[in-house]
Symmetry: C3
Amino acid sequence: MPLTFLSDYGPGDEYVGVVHGVIASIAPDARIIDLGHGVPPQDVRTGARRLARALPYVPAGVHLAVVDPGVGGERRAVALRAGDRWLVGPDNGLLIDAAERFGGVSRAFDVGETPWRLEPVSATFHGRDIFAPVAAHLALGEEPEGEIDPASLVRLEPLVASAGAAIVLEVDSFGNLRLDAPAGATAARVNGHDVVNARTFGDVEPGALLLYTASDGTLALAVNGGSAAALLGVRAGDELRLA
Amino acid sequence: MPLTFLSDYGPGDEYVGVVHGVIASIAPDARIIDLGHGVPPQDVRTGARRLARALPYVPAGVHLAVVDPGVGGERRAVALRAGDRWLVGPDNGLLIDAAERFGGVSRAFDVGETPWRLEPVSATFHGRDIFAPVAAHLALGEEPEGEIDPASLVRLEPLVASAGAAIVLEVDSFGNLRLDAPAGATAARVNGHDVVNARTFGDVEPGALLLYTASDGTLALAVNGGSAAALLGVRAGDELRLA
Amino acid sequence: MPLTFLSDYGPGDEYVGVVHGVIASIAPDARIIDLGHGVPPQDVRTGARRLARALPYVPAGVHLAVVDPGVGGERRAVALRAGDRWLVGPDNGLLIDAAERFGGVSRAFDVGETPWRLEPVSATFHGRDIFAPVAAHLALGEEPEGEIDPASLVRLEPLVASAGAAIVLEVDSFGNLRLDAPAGATAARVNGHDVVNARTFGDVEPGALLLYTASDGTLALAVNGGSAAALLGVRAGDELRLA
């Protein structure tokens, strides 16, 4: 069964490779597809959105995600069943949006004390010591213990923008902005800048700001041949005035 | 048949993983080798150079490349045959230099309307909706439709440096500079800094600037134990005075 | 036999992909696990630490590591046997700490002139021309020539901190600091900031500085929900006053 892996470990350190190594040691034949490790540090919301956006396009399997500011504390480590997929990660809301894409969580397991753990378990690297071995054993077709009530899972509170405003949810590597605003919304000005309601980048002049529907159906801002983040001087979490 | 994948998607977001996922869904046994996703955003020239430099060292197969500022507009999506290889990407010059390494384009196909597309096709993420499925089906040995004349393909205009100058084509992660200057050229000073014509970094004193032939045969500048980009204060696209 | 690969090539350029391509051309069935390519440029010490931390968690095989400021100069290219593993890279101390995790170097080979090299060998990209083919042939179970005395291998001089100080060895992508200080050491203040001696991030208030034992057993500093590097304004190589 294939595995996927998404995290906030960053592209540089050895953390991602160590998780691959643990999985390969337990399930040598399991293919692992990296779904990106550039989630901003400890940004559970962004991790949740990226995981939910990506999973419909990857083969069914075991989907490991680690954005885990509560590592080593009270938060549970969970394996969730949704459709024909397994989701593995911390119980902090990271996995729920993705599970909803496959009909929601049908079964849930607390794997924090699983015998599959690597002992001694560290206090700060559960990706290596708990989540990776759990994902690997699930990929081998084994069953977890410790079933819990799916209704007990932690969920993220929805963000609420001020009236007439939209929240910048994410800035991608092109400087494009994903907004927390209804798809199909239009605007003439954003933070005082003229904006064109368009379909794709080349529909506007080079350097012009456009409001469009991104490939996952959310509302987004971009600059043709440039960076909307730089033009508007905004970062994830900022509010924009749409008028 | 193995696949390779190069893009300007950046190392952090889920875009690269989604493309892997689409390919794995269609061609589960195809191995995918990432050739780097840090091409500067929308920099088709740099993407073209990196692809051409890399392909002679990777197994023959399907070579996917996406640097696509015109996505969703008039530009064609193409699959090109060069030697025993397939090149897949936008028709904006990105693939041509690589094709020349294998005898040039022998056959070309417009795949923008291929039945292999993922529907509905987004306006901004053809890597996912068009290029990935095309690459995957080619890796399965299937044949594309929509043959076009290779002479109709878009080609990049060559860069021309001013007299006595060289253009900085690329800055790598070490701060080494690749120049648009004839291999074998020598100089005593670059932008007023003394430079040593040398073979490798350790041939000069620590901190000294050297002019050398890079591993792909192009002329390059480096600082032993440092960054030529930082020393000279230049970026890709800048001109340097060689004297 | 599986391979792993760690380097300072950065996550963006095509260098990592080219090394994968060379290995795949020679040993098509060998799986390659990336152990991180974000080692700071030419920082042999950090590469050595990351390799040593990672290898106990990855399957035995051929372990390629390239952090190579002396490329093309006098330094040897080596393949080392340690336990049931092969370590391949430059003879500059990069591989020794990792070898110690498996009982030390039992046999050593100078592979700089191996017939496995890709000719012509460049002066600046031995990852491609020497190390990758050597790693691939070893993964195929072939034997190297050119045995040398393990006692002749280059070793790194240990760092020595001033009295009452600790050296910042590494800053990870979360801004956590690994220190060159005895595990189990405690402190009340670091560079004048109050610090809590704790087990994991959530054991202290958000924004508070904690001193803890990292997942590899070394002493480390972090900020709960933040960056210790930013709070203290330090970088790798800096000294911290512990009191």
